[in-house]
């Protein structure tokens, strides 16, 4: 939608997973700020140590655990799941009522008062972020707000404020520079790639990790902004409408004219009274 825009100044998260200790303070802070209900869970009902087993209408962010062996020792690696606040969000492009908006500050926000509940955003999001209030009769979509209410007041997002080690928040170009600096300074510590720099056309959350992204649970996504996939077809809509409408009008005019001439000829031949005006 806004592919031409410059996103270097919009705010972005830089999340350095190598610095994450898995304390899940971000999960707690997120629940507190957004006033989200707790979920009753049990350990090891999901894939591993992570809890709750998935993001939901009550859980906007979550730390995923992955245990692996390093130098014969068991180690943990982490991945913070949350809304990626894409530069050109798929959810915003597919929503028929424009209930999603990429704000100039950075967060992709959801306007509940507009939402009609078609759930196209959930189909479109390549990261599986928007969740639905399945428990309600008239449900709405729920997702990470990017703490837009805090950003507007000059604060940082709740998770970034709480996190003692891993999350940095600021203008996207600065976050990229910082990420590149860290990779260059400790090439042994980092995988030399910033996840989110180009993924889905560039996102508002940038990750640094030690382990390959797919092993941590990052979704493999296209590097193209998703709205461009539908727009390449939708942009043809006015042209097709005019072509089909105009083409059929022309064909029917020609055919009617042919018929009229033929009818007139027949009438003249029979020398009957031409009692009708014809049209089209």
């Amino acid at each position: 939608m806004s592919s031409a825009k410059d996103f270097s100044k919009t705010n972005a998260f830089l999340i350095d997973m190598t610095r994450c200790t898995g304390c899940r303070g971000c999960q707690v802070a997120c629940k507190q700020w957004n006033e989200l209900e707790a979920e009753k869970t049990e350990f090891f009902t999901g894939e591993g140590y992570q809890n709750p087993p998935a993001m939901s209408e009550y859980t906007f962010t979550r730390i995923k655990f992955r245990d692996y062996e390093k130098n014969g020792q068991n180690e943990f690696a982490f991945y913070k799941e949350m809304c990626m606040h894409c530069n050109d969000p798929a959810c915003a492009s597919v929503c028929p009522v424009g209930a999603f908006e990429k704000t100039t500050e950075g967060p992709v926000i959801y306007k509940a008062d507009r939402c009609i509940g078609c759930r196209f955003c959930m189909i479109a999001c390549p990261f599986g972020v928007p969740k639905y209030e399945w428990s309600k009769a008239l449900p709405l979509v729920k997702k990470c707000t990017g703490c837009y209410s805090r950003i507007k007041e000059g604060f940082q997002p709740a998770c970034a404020t709480t996190c003692a080690t891993a999350i940095t928040y600021g203008p996207r170009n600065k976050m990229i520079t910082e990420a590149e600096r860290r990779i260059a300074a400790r090439p042994d510590r980092y995988l030399s790639k910033i996840y989110g720099k180009d993924e889905a056309g560039g996102t508002g959350v940038l990750y640094l990790t030690a382990l390959p992204f797919n092993e941590l649970g990052f979704k493999p996504v296209t590097m193209r902004a998703l709205p461009s996939f539908t727009w390449q077809a939708l942009r043809l809509v006015p042209g097709i409408f005019l072509t089909v409408g105009g083409g059929l009008s022309a064909i029917s005019w020609i055919n009617h004219r042919k018929d009229r001439l033929r009818a007139e000829k027949a009438q003249q031949a029979e020398a009957t009274e031409p009692g009708k005006e014809e049209q089209q």
């Binding site: 939608m1 424009g98 759930r119 979704k219 027949a266």
Partner: protein, 412 residues
């Protein structure tokens, strides 16, 4: 009370089958009330992994192309002037109107915030295929309603509206074709956003074009099935000669579809194609039995002229379309281990919607002149400037000359 008694005695006089349909519709209505009382989460098997289920896959994505016969036939008859097919137009319009009305109901049931559905008209987002389809469905349902008004006006003898409707007939036919082209294809655009979610066997940039062409084929096939069924069971005139003409058009449409599908698969889609054996099987059934087989069948003149074989070929085309839409909107998206199966309530609602369609079609055909409409008696291509129709004998004679002059065009 007398009105109620009349309705009850009418219903008692219906055939068992029709009574069964009424029962299914009632069950469907109760099931959809349960959806509003208890919520989507409780009554459906939808969840965050499968936010769209049976209601979107069948009631919207499949039902819309199945109702495509109205615009296709309208264009064939009125634009390309194959006038002899006109007796099939009205049943097709009734099917279309019922189909789209029920699509709207299905969509409203599926919406989480149905009371805000009208927001589509207020907050435009032209980048959304859903916006495009919603606008088109609204516009097209209106067009179909106006077209459907013709038999109603005839039934009640409303002459002024009838003349007005006849005057706007051509603009309506052309609007119907243009609007349908847009939303039939845009239903395919829906799934272009599902990059990395929809399997490569179906994901390709020509999906909208494929959706449009297959909708035309399915719309024509539904007309064949419907005309045959209403001849067999409703005592309507035998139109098999006209269906032969449709059977000549159908292989052309299928041929174009096969070429575009082959091109999109071999030239545009990206592999791997063979990583999900079940999806591959579903794809092969869809293309083999639902497209190639009826195409080959319809190449033979024997199939095109034999009523039973016509029905089998048309049935296969419809089967292929239904499977295609389910493959794209449901099966092809199940790439993980999780599986979605519709709940009982979801199924009852969808069965109720299908039953409602058949029921209303039967009732409309019972009470309104949709099959008796034969243009030989009235010349519809000529607007009647407020003084022709009533002088019946005069008009009839004149219309006959005009029809004779037209010399019933040869089908191509």
């Amino acid at each position: 009370m007398t009105a109620a008694k009349f309705v009850i005695s009418e219903i008692k006089s219906y055939h068992r089958f029709v009574q069964a349909l009424i029962a299914l519709v009632v069950v469907g209505v109760i099931a959809s009330m349960a959806r509003f009382a208890l919520g989507l989460g409780v009554t459906t098997n939808l969840n965050d992994t499968f936010p769209w289920g049976l209601w979107i896959s069948f009631d919207v994505v499949t039902a819309v192309p199945l109702a495509a016969g109205a615009f296709t036939l309208g264009a064939i008859v009125h634009v390309f002037h194959i006038k002899k097919l006109e007796p099939l137009v009205r049943p097709a319009i009734v099917t279309g109107f019922l189909g789209y009305s029920l699509v709207t109901i299905g969509l409203v049931l599926d919406l989480g915030q149905p009371h805000k559905g009208w927001h589509v008209l207020r907050y435009w987002n032209v980048h959304s295929p859903m916006f495009e389809v919603s606008m088109c469905v609204m516009a097209y349902t209106t067009v179909l309603f106006l077209e459907f008004l013709s038999p109603v006006a005839e039934r009640f003898g409303w002459h002024i509206p009838l003349r007005l409707l006849r005057w706007i007939e051509m603009p309506l036919v052309i609007a119907a074709a243009a609007i349908s082209t847009l939303h039939q294809s845009s239903l395919g655009t829906f799934f272009l956003i599902a990059v990395d979610k929809l399997h490569n066997l179906w994901y390709n940039p020509l999906l909208p074009l494929l959706f449009w062409i297959s909708a035309i084929a399915a719309g024509l096939s539904i007309i064949i099935l419907e005309a045959t069924a209403s001849h067999k069971w409703m005592g309507q005139p035998n139109e098999s000669e006209l269906l032969e003409t449709l059977c000549k058009i159908l292989p052309w449409v299928l041929g174009v579809y096969i070429s575009v599908k082959a091109f999109s698969l071999f030239a545009l889609a990206e592999g791997p194609f063979f990583d999900h054996p079940k999806l591959l099987a579903s794809f092969l059934v869809e293309v083999g039995i639902g497209v190639l087989l009826p195409f080959l069948m319809l190449l033979s003149p024997k199939v095109r002229t034999t009523g039973r074989l016509q029905v089998i070929a048309a049935g296969l085309v419809v089967f292929g379309l239904v499977l295609n839409r389910f493959n794209v909107s449901m099966f092809g998206m199940m790439l993980g281990d999780e599986i979605y199966l519709p709940s009982i309530i979801e199924s009852l609602v969808t069965v109720g919607i299908i039953a409602a369609h058949i029921l209303f079609f039967v009732l409309v055909a019972k009470y309104f002149p949709i099959f008796e409409h034969h243009p030989e008696t009235v010349d519809y291509s000529i607007p009647d400037h407020f003084h022709k129709i009533d002088g019946a004998s005069h008009t009839k004679a004149e219309a006959k000359t005009a029809a004779g002059g037209k010399a019933i065009p040869e089908s191509h």
